[in-house]
């Protein structure tokens, strides 16, 4: 960033992206689907709100009447948009980045560009900044239209909801930018745009579709091993089912087939506790591996952030913590829980952009 040429390159890149047919096409689909999802979500939200108000009035008339469990939240409208952003956002990021360097090589403009009084890093930095600018314009447009639609529906978000919407937007931006950085890296290592696109799409499919299979499917069983079996001495029952009863402060019955349950009344408490401990450790280990694998995927991280940010404000009952209390659903607490996902969404583009930067600086220009 020494000669100021990065500004010239960044402004040209923004201009190129915005005028590009592929960008406009994907952004157009993205915008339409987001708006359709938003309007659908708003209609559902209005229905839920009407139903909630109706139930409230009934409960007000009769104290013994049914009390609605939770008040619907405005943020619930984003439930429908989130999956669309995951699928189309990744494609948008890749479409913006896959040919940024290969196109310059193919059109022979890279050699002529670098013969000007600019440093090489200004070229790649300018390109990245141009993409960030174009992406901000795209997401800004979606956000402004979304806000306008909400206002048309007579819905005004409060400060907390607005903050959560901003976090949702920022996470969407980081996810799309992560895929952009991956595509940019592929563009620096590939000989032509076709190869760069194929490599980028393979990674997109792997990170957004195959990685969750690794995280939760049979591959996970191979990594984490089989779940510990309950002690045979504790199992008894007909029809292939099994059950047990605690003789502790709480009593739990479990049936695998819903059939008649025979209760085990004489528990070997020590054996049961041992099994219980092993089982808990196993599932915690499995969850930790699954979370760690999930951190590698920008899609999974965005999904986790959007789910938590929206869910914790949706008015739905929060999960219980260890002490049996509902977990804190304040924004600060939610962000604290999501710290690893946020860091992962910052680190992923940084790694790929760094790799693209190093590769581009060493690129043989002949």
């Amino acid at each position: 960033m020494k000669s100021g040429a990065w500004k010239v390159i960044a402004s040209k890149e923004i201009f190129d992206h915005i005028r590009s047919r592929k960008f406009m096409l994907i952004f157009g689909i993205f915008l339409i689907i987001s708006m359709v999802g938003l309007v659908g979500g708003l209609i559902d939200y209005q229905k839920q709100l009407d139903s909630y108000n109706e139930q409230l009035s009934v409960a007000g008339e009769d104290e013994m009447g049914y009390m609605p469990y939770w008040k619907p939240s405005l943020l619930s409208i984003f439930f429908q948009i989130s999956p669309m952003i995951i699928s189309l956002g990744g494609v948008l990021g890749i479409a913006m980045g896959f040919d940024l360097i290969t196109k310059e090589k193919e059109s022979k403009s890279l050699k002529i560009l670098l013969s000007h009084p600019i440093y090489r890093d200004e070229v790649i930095n300018g390109k990245a900044l141009g993409a960030i600018g174009a992406l901000l314009i795209a997401l800004g447009t979606v956000s402004i239209i979304s806000l306008a639609i909400m206002l048309i529906f007579g819905i005004v978000p409060d400060a907390d909801q607005f903050s959560r919407m901003l976090i949702f937007g920022a996470a969407a931006f980081l996810m799309i930018f992560s895929y952009f950085a991956i595509a940019l890296f592929m563009s620096t290592i590939s000989s032509d745009s076709g190869n760069a696109l194929i490599y980028s799409l393979i990674i997109l499919i792997f990170l957004s579709s195959l990685l969750p299979v690794f995280a939760y499917g049979p591959v996970m069983n191979l990594v984490a091993g089989d779940a510990p079996e309950p002690p045979e001495s504790l199992m008894r029952g007909g029809g292939g089912g099994w059950s047990h009863t605690f003789t502790t402060s709480s009593s739990v019955s479990v049936s695998s087939d819903g059939g008649p349950v025979e209760e085990y009344v004489d528990p070997d408490q020590e054996e049961w506790d041992k099994y219980n401990k092993k089982s808990k450790a196993y599932w915690e280990k499995r969850q930790a591996i699954s979370d760690a694998i999930g951190l590698l995927s920008p899609s999974s991280n965005f999904q986790a952030i959007s789910r938590e940010v929206i869910w914790s404000a949706s008015g739905r009952p929060m999960p219980m913590d260890k002490d049996g209390f509902e977990e804190d659903n304040s924004l600060a607490s939610t962000l604290s829980d999501l710290l690893k996902n946020i860091i992962a969404l910052l680190v992923t583009p940084a790694i790929f952009f760094g790799a693209a930067y190093v590769r581009f600086m060493r690129l043989d220009i002949r």
Binding site: A5, V8, K12, D16, S107, I112, L114, Y119, I365, R366
Partner: protein, 304 residues
């Protein structure tokens, strides 16, 4: 001024350019000749700072390229052989983008771009560069190389795709630059083109300069060498006298003696001109035969 000092570039142990030492003074139009793979493009890429030399250095107006690439790039105008532009932009938009990289102001850019497009015959062409022919791109490449009013112009195969009008315009531009005291380096394997515009040449073969100097110096057969002959075409207004020179191998006169083809060991055009002037014979043509010259230059390659 361009200087190469023991410039060497190695790729995997193979020397693409080998100990190149050369000085091109201001106002010179220098032709870098050589067959494909001789090291011309590698030399130029080192000169414009796109690749670093393995050894040695090159300087433009006394500034070392590898150490001060930005300063050097402000002084040069470069047109590569496979000149590439942004296909989705017009010629004007392309030139405007490149002009902004030099930090030129808007009004200055506008004025400069208009005059350059006029100069290369692309004024009023509104279509995007993606729809240009190779020749049009090459014209635009010449305009791009001139956008910063460079002191040194480096052109790689500048006439490869130009039509006759384009070639004529290119020659006019180069001659104008030379008149302004600017240095021009033209890399080419098209001997006839180099011989028309360049005042001196360097012949590159297998990464080494095998000969360099003014045309008349190069067109002189080295002492002891038995290969190489030059044919000189002479046409006069009146019947010409008999030529006598130790360099002459043979002379074929036309029947009216107003034309002659002189086969010589070296370029003796100055001697012939002196003889014709002394005898009051008007000269219509006194030129080196192109085919003969090409054979002569090729002999430099073959000697390596």
């Amino acid at each position: 001024m361009i200087e190469f000092e023991h410039l060497t570039k190695e790729y995997n142990g193979i020397k693409a350019v080998d100990d190149l030492c050369l000085t091109i003074p201001d106002g010179e139009v220098f032709g870098l000749l050589g067959p494909n793979g001789a090291g011309k493009s590698t030399t130029i890429l080192m000169l414009i700072g796109l690749i670093e030399p393995t050894e040695g250095r090159c300087l433009i107006d006394g500034v070392e390229v590898a150490k001060n690439p930005i300063e050097v790039k402000h002084r040069i105008g470069y047109m590569p052989e496979d000149v590439g532009f942004y296909a989705t932009l017009t010629a004007e938009q392309n030139l405007d983008f490149f002009a902004r990289l030099y930090g030129m102001k808007k009004a200055e850019r506008k004025e400069k771009i208009e005059s350059l497009l006029e100069l290369v015959g692309l004024s009023g062409v509104e279509k995007k560069v993606g729809g240009y022919s190779k020749g049009m791109r090459q014209r635009l490449g010449i305009a791009k190389a001139l956008i910063n009013d460079p002191a040194v112009m480096i052109l790689d195969e500048p006439t490869a795709n130009l039509d006759p009008q384009g070639v004529a315009d290119y020659r006019r531009i180069i001659q104008e630059m030379a008149k302004q005291g600017k240095t021009v380096l033209v890399s080419s394997h098209i001997l006839s083109e180099v011989s028309r515009v360049c005042t001196s040449v360097g012949i590159l073969s297998q990464g080494r300069i095998v000969a360099n100097g003014k045309w008349e110096d190069l067109a002189r057969i080295p002492e002891g060498s038995t290969s190489g002959e030059i044919r000189i075409n002479v046409r006069t207004k009146e019947a010409m006298p008999e030529f006598s020179n130790s360099e002459i191998i043979s002379v074929d006169y036309t029947d009216d003696r107003k034309g002659a083809s002189v086969l010589s060991h070296s370029d003796i055009r100055d001697d012939i001109s002196d003889v014709l002037q002394k005898t009051g014979t008007g000269i219509r043509e006194l030129s080196l035969d192109r085919d003969s010259l090409e054979d002569f230059i090729l002999s430099y390659y073959q000697e390596q």
